[in-house]
Subunit: 216 residues, 6 copies
Amino acid sequence: MAKNVFLPILLSFFLLPFSSLALTQDFCVANLLLSQTPAGYQCKPAAIVTANDFYLSGAIRPTTIQPFNISFVPAYGSYFPGINGLQLAGVRIFLGVNGVVPLHSIPRANEIMFVVRGTLNVGFITSTSNVVYTKTLSQGDTFLFPQGLVRFCYNVGDTTAEVFGVFNNQNPGIQITDYALFGNILPAEVVAKVTYLSVADVKSLKRFFGPRTLGA
Amino acid sequence: MAKNVFLPILLSFFLLPFSSLALTQDFCVANLLLSQTPAGYQCKPAAIVTANDFYLSGAIRPTTIQPFNISFVPAYGSYFPGINGLQLAGVRIFLGVNGVVPLHSIPRANEIMFVVRGTLNVGFITSTSNVVYTKTLSQGDTFLFPQGLVRFCYNVGDTTAEVFGVFNNQNPGIQITDYALFGNILPAEVVAKVTYLSVADVKSLKRFFGPRTLGA
Amino acid sequence: MAKNVFLPILLSFFLLPFSSLALTQDFCVANLLLSQTPAGYQCKPAAIVTANDFYLSGAIRPTTIQPFNISFVPAYGSYFPGINGLQLAGVRIFLGVNGVVPLHSIPRANEIMFVVRGTLNVGFITSTSNVVYTKTLSQGDTFLFPQGLVRFCYNVGDTTAEVFGVFNNQNPGIQITDYALFGNILPAEVVAKVTYLSVADVKSLKRFFGPRTLGA
Amino acid sequence: MAKNVFLPILLSFFLLPFSSLALTQDFCVANLLLSQTPAGYQCKPAAIVTANDFYLSGAIRPTTIQPFNISFVPAYGSYFPGINGLQLAGVRIFLGVNGVVPLHSIPRANEIMFVVRGTLNVGFITSTSNVVYTKTLSQGDTFLFPQGLVRFCYNVGDTTAEVFGVFNNQNPGIQITDYALFGNILPAEVVAKVTYLSVADVKSLKRFFGPRTLGA
Amino acid sequence: MAKNVFLPILLSFFLLPFSSLALTQDFCVANLLLSQTPAGYQCKPAAIVTANDFYLSGAIRPTTIQPFNISFVPAYGSYFPGINGLQLAGVRIFLGVNGVVPLHSIPRANEIMFVVRGTLNVGFITSTSNVVYTKTLSQGDTFLFPQGLVRFCYNVGDTTAEVFGVFNNQNPGIQITDYALFGNILPAEVVAKVTYLSVADVKSLKRFFGPRTLGA
Amino acid sequence: MAKNVFLPILLSFFLLPFSSLALTQDFCVANLLLSQTPAGYQCKPAAIVTANDFYLSGAIRPTTIQPFNISFVPAYGSYFPGINGLQLAGVRIFLGVNGVVPLHSIPRANEIMFVVRGTLNVGFITSTSNVVYTKTLSQGDTFLFPQGLVRFCYNVGDTTAEVFGVFNNQNPGIQITDYALFGNILPAEVVAKVTYLSVADVKSLKRFFGPRTLGA
C-alpha cells in the first residue's frame, strides 16, 4: 500500500526541480518542461548539463518555405536550450536563387547579419521618417538591423545564399508583414480600414497568404 | 583685443555644460543642444531645472492628420525634456469620428493605453502565429500592447475619442506600416518583390501615401 | 488500485505548468498561482491567453479611503495579469473634493501622471537638497515624478478629480509616509528616536494612523 | 592676429574631449567637468587614468553632523571618479555614542551593510503593508535594505560604531524624511495638508529642521 | 483509501509554492528548493519571510584554504537568501600573514572592496592592453575592480587582514586562474596547446593544483 | 576684426554636435571624436548617417598574429560605428592550420560562435567547479560561451578555419590569459606570488610573451 502512495510522491519530487545544490551558475540551460518566466525558461540543474546543450549541429537541413524559396534554422528556443538567459539568439538562413526573406520586423532585438556565401540585397526602413538604408552584400560582409524596424533581404546572385544572423535577445520574435496583415482572422473590412487598402485587395491577399481567412 | 579673443572663449565655456557641482541627480533633464548618447540626451545642470521641465500643458492643440482624422501630442523628446532618462514616454491621441490610427508598430517599447473618452476598437497581432487580440474600449478602460507588434486603433463611436498612451522607453518610435512600405524612396519593383504585392498595386499605393515616390 | 495512484500523478501534472509548446512569446501573462521570480510572475501558457488578459475595465469602482477622500484602481498585479513582464504598471486615482493623496514615495519606478479631469496641486521633493518642484495641473496636463522621491497630490478644484498614473515597473510599490511611520508595530520610542518627533506626538499619530499600534 | 584667433580654437579643442584612441574600455572613469548623461558621467580618456581613480583613502575624516552625531564619507560622485558606470556606490558611516542615521530612504538602489565595529539597531519598513524587519547588529554582521523603503540605524553600544554600506547604483541618492518634510520651502499649511500633522507641529518641526523655512 | 491518495496530493500542494496572496513585493527572498531562473531563485511567500532572511551573522568562521592561507564567507546563495533579486552580493575575506587571494576574475560583476583591517597589495590587469593598476591598501581604504578582469590581493602586513567585497550581481562567480587551468580534466597536451606552457610544466602544475588530473 | 572673432565661434559650433533636430532615433551611430559615456559613444546626427555606417566589408584582410597563426577583424569600435548602442558586437576569426585562439576570457559578454568553414576544437571552463565543456565543431555548427569564463579554440583540420563570433555587448573586451599574466609590467616576483608558478618560470614566460617585461 505504502509503495503505491510513495510512488506518486517520489514522482512529484522528480518532477519538481531541485537545484538547491547548484549554488553557483555560469549559465541557465532551459528546462523546456516548466513554465517560462519574464526572463526566460527555468534552469536545468547544472549536474545534468552537457556540452551538447551549448551546441547546435550544422547538419540540420530545414524544409524550404514557399513562395519565398528560403529555409532557416533557429538557434534558440527548443533548438538550443543553452542559449536561455544569455541575451543572444541566432538564425541560419538559406535563400535559394531568387529567394526572398519578405518584409518583416524583429520585435525584441537588434540584429547583426554575416554573409556566409552568396550575394544579397538587404535594407531597413526607419520609423517616423521612412528613410531607407540599403546595401548589396557579398561573402564575408556584415550588416546591422536596428530593433523593430521593417527590413528585407533577397538573393540577387546565381547561387544559394547563406547568412547567419544574431540577435541580442534569446527570444527575438519575427513578424512577417504579409502574414501579420493577411494571414490572421480579422475580417477583410477591418484590415482594409486600418491599412487603407481596398477591401477587394485585402480579400485577394488573404486568399494568397491566409490559411485562416474569414469572410473572404 | 583681448576682449575680442576672450568673448569666444567665454562662449565656448557657456556652450560646454559644466555640471560638476550637481553631484547628486534625481533626474536628467535633457539638454537638447548637445549630442545624444545611447541612453538619451545629456543632462542640463540641475541648477537651471524648473517645475516646467516636468510639465506638459494639456492646452497644446495639434493639427489633424489626414486621411486618418487623428491628431496627437507626444509627451517626450523636445516636447518634454524632463522625461529624459526616466524610461517612460507618453502620447495623447485624439481620434475624430471615424478616425483611425493606422496599422503601426512601436519598435522600442510596450504600451499601456487609457481611454479618456469615446469608444474605440483596438488590437494587436502576435509574431510568428499571427493571433489577433482585439477589444472594444470605452471611457476609463485600459489596454496593453506588447513591444514591436503591429497594432491598430479606430474610433467606433459618434464623438471624438481621446486616449493617453504610455511607453516604457523615452524614445519609443513609431512605424506606420503604410508609410514605411509606400512612403519611402525604394523603387516599386523592390517593394513588390519583398511584399508580394503587384508592382501596379505598389505604384498605386505609393501615389496615395508617398510624398517621396520614385519611379512611379 | 492503479487509478487511485494515477490520480495524484495526473493532478501533479495538471498543477505543474507545461508551456513547452509555446516556444515563441510576445508576452508573459502572469500565472498568479505559481511562485514569483525576481523578474515577475511565471507565464501562463500562450494557448489560454485571451484579449481580456490585456484589458482592464473602466467600470471598476473602488471604495473611498478615509480620511483621504480618494479611491484608486491599480492596473497591475492580480488586477491585470497581462502587465506581467511589460515593465509598466498603471493606476487610476479619483480624488473627491479636498481629497489628498498623502505624502508618499514609489520605491521602484518613475511616474508619468495624466489629468483626466479636475484641478490638482502636485509636487515632489528632491533628495539631499530638498528642492520642491510643484505645479497646479488641469485637465489634459501631464506631470513627471522621479523614482523614490516623496511626492504629493491634492484636489484644489470644486469637483472630483481623476488622474491616470503610469510607472516603468510592473510592481512599483507605494509607501505612504504616515502609514510607514505611524502604522507599524515599532514602539513609539523607536519611531521618536529616528524621526526626532516627541514620543507624545508619535503616540498621538499612532492612534490616528495605526491599526497595529503597540505600547501606545 | 592669427595667433589670437587660433588660441580660442585650440582651447576649444582642449576642452572637447578626444578619446577616439581609447577604443577598448574596461572602465569609464568620470570626467567631472563635462555634462552628465542618464547613464552617468562621460569618461576620461583611458590614457590619463591612474590607480588613484579606483582608490579612496580611509584617512578622510568627515565632520560630524548634529543633532544626529554621525559622519559619513561617500564612495561615489566627486569623491570616487572610478566608480562611474560600475553600478556600485559605497558609503562609510560613523555613528558616535547615541548616534542616529535618521529615518530615510535610498531612492535608486538596494543596500548591503557591513558592520566594521560597534553595535547597532537597524530596520526597514515595507511598502503597502508597513511590516517592520529589524535586527541588532554587531561587528562582522551584514544586513540588507531593499530599494526605496524607509529605513533607520542607530548606535546602541557604548562606543562609536562604523558601518560600510554598498549600493547597486553609482548615484543612489538619500532622502532623509525629516529634511524632506520640514527642510523645504513648502508653506507649513501644504506640509500639514499632505501629512495630516497639525500646522502648529509642522511649524515647530520646520524651526528645528529647516534652514529654509517659509511663512513659519 | 482516500486518505492515502490525498496525502501525496496535499504534499504536492505543499511543495508547489502558492504566493498569489503576496501581490506586492519589496523583495524576493530565495526559495532554495525550487528551480532557478535566469534572474535568480524563485521567491518565498512574503508571509514566511523574517528579518533573519536579510541578516548574515559575523560569527560564521570559515575554514582556512591552503596553500593560500585565506578563508572567506560568501554573502549570497544559500548563505543569504534575502540577497536574491537585489543585484548585490558580498564576501568577507580573511587573509592570514602572507595570505594570497590568487589571481582570479569575477565573471559577472564589478567589485568594491573595503579594508576592515590590515595592509594589502591589490591590483587588476586591463583587457587588450594589459595595463596594471595596483595599490597598497590600509584599514578604511576602498578599491574598485572592474568586471571580468584578472585581479589579485595579498597580505603585506604582520597581522591577519580582513576585507569586505561587494559585487553588483547576486551570483558574481569566481574563476581562480590556477584552478581553471590546472584543476580541470583537460589533458595536459590541450592545456599546453592553448597556454603555450610546456607539457611538462602543465603536468607539474596539474599535480599541484588538480584534484582531478588526467593523464599526468 | 569681427570676422576673426566669429570664425572660432563658428568652429566651436561646428565642433559641438547639434542633433536637436533628430528627435527620433532608431540608432545611435558613434561619433568617435567625442567622449565616451558608460553606455557607449555619443551619437552622430542622424542626417549624416549612411548605409555604410551599418556595413562592414568582408574584404578586410587582417595581418596574421604569431605565434598563434590567427587573424581577426573586429566588428565593433572604430571598425563599425553603427554598432554603437545596439548591445551587439561581432568578430571574424581566421585560424591557419594549427592556429590557436589561446586561452582567454571575454569580460563583458556572452558569445555565440558560428563555423563558416573548417574544423575546430572549442571549450570553456566553469567558475568554482572548473568543469570543462568541450566540442569538435565543423562547418555550419554553432557553439555558446558564457560571459567571463576562460575559453579556447584551435584548428584541428587540414585547412584554414573561419568563424564568426557575436557578443551581447558593443564593447566585449578580450583578456588573453598569457598576455595578462606575462605581458604586463608587474615584477616576476609578484606574478609568481599570485599564480604559484616559480619565479624562474614566470621570468621565462615574460621573455616569451612580454613586450614590456620588467626585472627579467
